[in-house]
Each structure stands twice: as C-alpha cells, then as structure tokens.
C-alpha cells in the first residue's frame, strides 16, 4: 500500500515526485520502473557514446534523491495490469501494489514497422535507453559499417554518438529529408550537408525493402546495402496499453487535463505517454520532449497531493546538436514564414501568426534562443515589442522599458 504509486522512472516520474513533495512531505511514494537504472535523461545516451558524459555522471538527480524524498523504488519490474476498482497494480514479479493515487509516466517505446527479413539481422538494436546504448557500444568497433533506419532525432543523435567509433554510417529514411519533424526543407538541407561533410551517407526517400542476410539489404529502389550493425530509429509509440485496458480515454496518447488528471478517478498521467494542449498551434497532441515531461509530471504530482498548479504552456521545443552545429527549434511552423538568416553555416526562420511568434528554427547561431521561446510561450503580441530588433537577434532591448524593468528589476 502506497499513497502514491508512479509507473515509470524517467523525467515525468521525477516531476511527479517533486510535485507531490511540494504539497505533501509525508505520504508514501512508490516508483515502479522497468529499467534497472537510477533515473537518467534519455537524450544523454548519445553523449555517453561520444564520451561527453559517463554512466556514472548520467544520474538526473543526486544519488540520494529517492531517499531524500522518501521514495520506495521497485526497478527492473514491469506493471502488467491496473485494477481501478481495487486500486492496485499487478507486477511482472507476481506481486501487487495498492495505491490511493496512481501516476502513469510510462513514456514511449520504439516503433518498428514490419520489415521483411529483419529476423536475419543479428546485430541490431533500437536507441532509446541506456541498455540500448550499451548494447550498441558492445556491437561496434572501428571496422563497423552501421546502417541506421530513421533520419529523425533519435537516429541522427545515434549517428553523432558513434560516428568516431565506426568505419561508416549509412542513414536511410522514407522521408526525403532529415529531421522532418523539427526542420523545414532548407534547415534539413543544411544539417544533412553538415553531416555529409563528416562522412555520413544518406539514402532518403527510400526504405528497406528487405533484409537479404545478416549483413545485406535492398532498398525500395533496388539499391544493395551492406552493413554489419543495424540501428532502428523509425519512431516511437506512447505506452498507453495499461490504461486502455481499463477503458481509459486515449487518443494518440492518454488524454489528460492541465492538472494531469485522466478520465479515470485517481489516475493521472504525464510525459511521452500523454497528450497535452500545444499552445503554439492550439491543438491537443503528444509533445514528447523532456521539459514537457517534467512539467506535466510536476503538475500531476501537485494535484495528486491535493494542490493545484496547472501546466498550460506545453509546446514542442528541441535543442539538438551535431558536432559543432547547434539547432534550436520551438513551436509550430504555421502562419507567415520569415527567413531572417540563410547562409552556409546559419539558418534562422521565424513563424508568425495573428501578431504572435508561433515557431522558430535556428541553426548555427542559437545564442539567446530562449527569448524567442518565451515570446511563443507568453503569446507576446508582436506589436507590443520592437519586432525588427528582436527579429535580428533575440534581445531584451526589443521589449518596452516597463517590461525590461519587470524582467531585470524584480525577482522571478
């Protein structure tokens, strides 16, 4: 029996714990996670492979975090079912845990479309977890030829992580450009060119037709590929099964309000398994990014413990780098497109709609990008600031004297 049970042990779970503890310092908390690791930021795994961080330093909170917050952890165990009437969850180890309030921070899992002959490939992995990364690391060496299926965020970060460790990398994607979820065409071209300079080969607009052996494949346009290691990074699916099984409301992800409440009493959800309201385009959808997971978790934790601090500023934002090329994007790419900068090393485009900034892409020079992010988040009317100035460079000078005094002369 635990006052608060959290399924999942990633960022949304940590947000939940910190949210609960903001309101309730004594109630018992149990975290059940299927990974046998201290909580870590998933995006770190590529940096670990690059040597920019190590397994020992990847802990997302101090190692005393669970103790400090009086959290019981059950790790390396799956939750197999939820009984909403008895208010308990069943675990893969055969035990059950009762809850007063339940948090679903179940995240997402790699999505693998059916690919003919994939069973022939021995050295293959997805790229989501520490275990995936460690597995990949053990499979490769300086003679490896790696095939990465998927030119999205996960696939390309994997490329960055291992490029210096292997002989060659080929990336294949059905889409005709890289990072289509966060970049426009010009941005994709710039990033692709920069990765090609580093030696990465791309096959775009095609997919694997068939794996013909453990080390060969043919593409839909008949190209023959040879490789020794396969990374699948096609996409992810939210883990909504447990909730769906008890009749909870699910669209693409679990439906929650700004307080993290689901359609079922005493069950909350947040993070990559849940939807939220994207303020940059006024749409209900999954915004599977790390800060969002934290904020949703925190809002849910606070409401689970009886408080109320809605999280109503969800929107996509991504900061991603490939070697020395940084990319920061946020919001939605709707409305008027204003290309501010477009040269060999830099690209900047702003999207404005109804007198507001709704999205941006910055590649290369990303200094102070957060000022743009805040314009989207705060829905700042662009006619209330000096848009010409802020368009050139993100700067506080573009705000009115009163706003600047508010920002720099008060505590926040």
């Amino acid at each position: 029996m635990s006052d608060y049970v959290i399924i999942g042990n990633s960022i949304a779970a940590i947000g939940t714990i910190e949210g609960i503890r903001k309101v309730d310092t004594t109630g018992t908390i149990t975290v059940i996670g299927n990974e046998n690791h201290f909580v870590y930021g998933r995006p770190l795994i590529s940096y670990m492979l690059m040597g920019k961080t190590t397994l020992e330093k990847m802990n997302y909170r101090d190692l005393s975090f669970y103790d400090d917050n009086k959290v019981e952890t059950i790790l390396g165990v799956e939750v197999t079912a939820i009984d909403k009437d008895k208010k308990q969850v069943a675990l893969s180890n055969g035990s059950t845990v009762s809850y007063k309030k339940l948090m679903l921070a179940t995240g997402s899992r790699p999505f693998l479309p059916p690919m003919k002959g994939i069973e022939l490939v021995e050295k293959k992995t997805s790229f989501m977890t520490i275990d995936d990364a460690l597995k990949l690391d053990s499979m490769i060496n300086s003679e490896s030829n790696v095939l990465v299926v998927g030119a999205g965020l996960i696939g390309l970060k994997c490329v960055e992580g291992i490029l210096s460790k292997v002989k060659s990398i080929t990336v294949i994607d059905l889409a005709n450009r890289v990072l289509p979820s966060i970049l426009d065409e010009k941005g994709s071209d710039l990033v692709k060119a920069s990765l090609e300079k580093k030696g990465v080969k791309f096959i775009l607009g095609e997919s694997i037709a068939e794996f013909t052996s453990a080390a060969t494949a043919t593409t839909t346009q008949g190209k023959e590929l040879s490789f020794d290691t396969l990374v699948t990074a096609v996409g992810v699916r939210p883990n909504t099964q447990l909730f769906q099984a008890i009749g909870g409301q699910v669209n693409r992800g679990i439906v929650v309000d700004t307080l993290g409440k689901t359609s079922i009493e005493d069950i909350y959800a947040g993070g990559d398994c849940a939807e939220c309201f994207d303020i940059s385009c006024d749409t209900q959808r999954i915004v599977a990014i790390l800060p969002n997971a934290y904020f949703q978790g925190r809002a849910a934790g606070i409401s689970m413990a009886g408080g109320e601090e809605p999280f109503d500023q969800a929107m996509p934002m991504n900061s991603i780098g490939f070697f020395d090329l940084h990319i920061i994007t946020a919001g939605s790419y709707i409305g008027d497109k204003d290309i501010v900068l477009d040269d060999e090393n830099n690209y900047k485009v702003l999207f404005t709609k109804d007198n507001k900034l709704v999205g941006f892409i910055m590649i290369g020079d990303v200094q102070r990008a957060g000022i743009y992010t805040s314009l989207i988040r705060n829905k700042t009317p662009l006619d209330s600031i000096d848009y010409t100035l802020v368009r050139e460079h993100p700067q506080l000078m573009a705000f009115t004297l009163k706003d600047r005094q508010e920002k720099l002369g008060r505590s926040h």
């Binding site: 904020f295 900061s319 200094q367 102070r368 000022i371 000078m397 920002k407 720099l408």
Partner: protein, 143 residues
C-alpha cells in the same frame, strides 16, 4: 535571497561588468594576465542600442525553466536560491539556451554551458559585476 538587479536608468554601457565578470571567473589573480589579448566570454552581457544600455545575467528564477529543460541534471536550483551548473555533468546540448527567457546562459570555452553563479564560489565572493559597476546600475540586494 539577494539577487542581482539591473536599473538601466543608470547603466552607462561601459561594459566594466563584463570585464569584471570575465576576470572573476578566470581563476587568475591579475586582471591584465587574465584578460590581455583575450576575447572575453562573460556571463553578464550588456545590451546597448540607441542610447539605451543594460546588463543581463541569470535572474536566478525561483521556478527556473532552464533547470527543468536540462537533460543531464547538470543545472540545479541550490538551497541558497542560486542556480548553478555542474560543468562535469553538462554535455553542452543547449537545452537551457532554448529555455532561458533572458538569454542568460551561454557556452563556455570548454564547450559546456556557463552562467552567472553570483561569484559566490570564485575569488570575488560577491558579484564582481556589482562591485565594479561605477554607477550602481547593478545592485545585489533583497527585493
């Protein structure tokens, strides 16, 4: 807690704060040795245009978005209210740059991120920008 506040009415745009910041965080004892023939990379930046100028550095928010956005757990809101970065954990992903509404976090020479930590742990022991401001345009106080 005591924070650094900026009153642009009195900012002269002299940029001494930037140099004092760079010196205080250089780990050296002599400013000439620390800064001569160096392009400084201070944690406080002066914005200057059309006769207006003011310095911007970390506001040490009580509910910091940068800390939430950090993928590595490298940014902390410490118990004394100061937001610090553990540069051994930071991987330089720039998520904090994406999040900070003041544009107050920037890359260091080491490739990881740096930010104002109020000089409490360097040789200055109190904000060097404040100490060196010739016109009290930057103050360090409770508000």
């Amino acid at each position: 807690m005591k924070r650094v506040y900026v009153n642009e009415k009195w900012c002269l745009g002299c940029r001494l704060c930037e140099y004092n910041c760079a010196f205080a965080n250089s780990g050296m004892t002599d400013m000439v040795k620390a800064l001569n023939n160096v392009t400084i990379n201070p944690r406080i930046k002066v914005e200057k245009a059309n006769g207006i100028s003011f310095a911007v550095q970390c506001r040490h928010c009580k509910d910091p978005i940068c800390v939430r956005a950090c993928i590595a757990g490298a940014l902390h809101l410490d118990e004394d209210g100061v937001i610090r970065i553990d540069d051994t954990k930071c991987v330089g992903c720039h998520s904090c740059v994406m999040a900070c509404p003041y544009g107050a976090i920037m890359p260091s020479q080491k490739g990881v991120m740096q930010k104002c930590e109020l000089c409490l742990q360097n040789s200055s022991k109190e904000p060097a920008c404040v100490k060196g401001c010739p016109n009290h345009a930057i103050v360090y106080e409770e508000r």
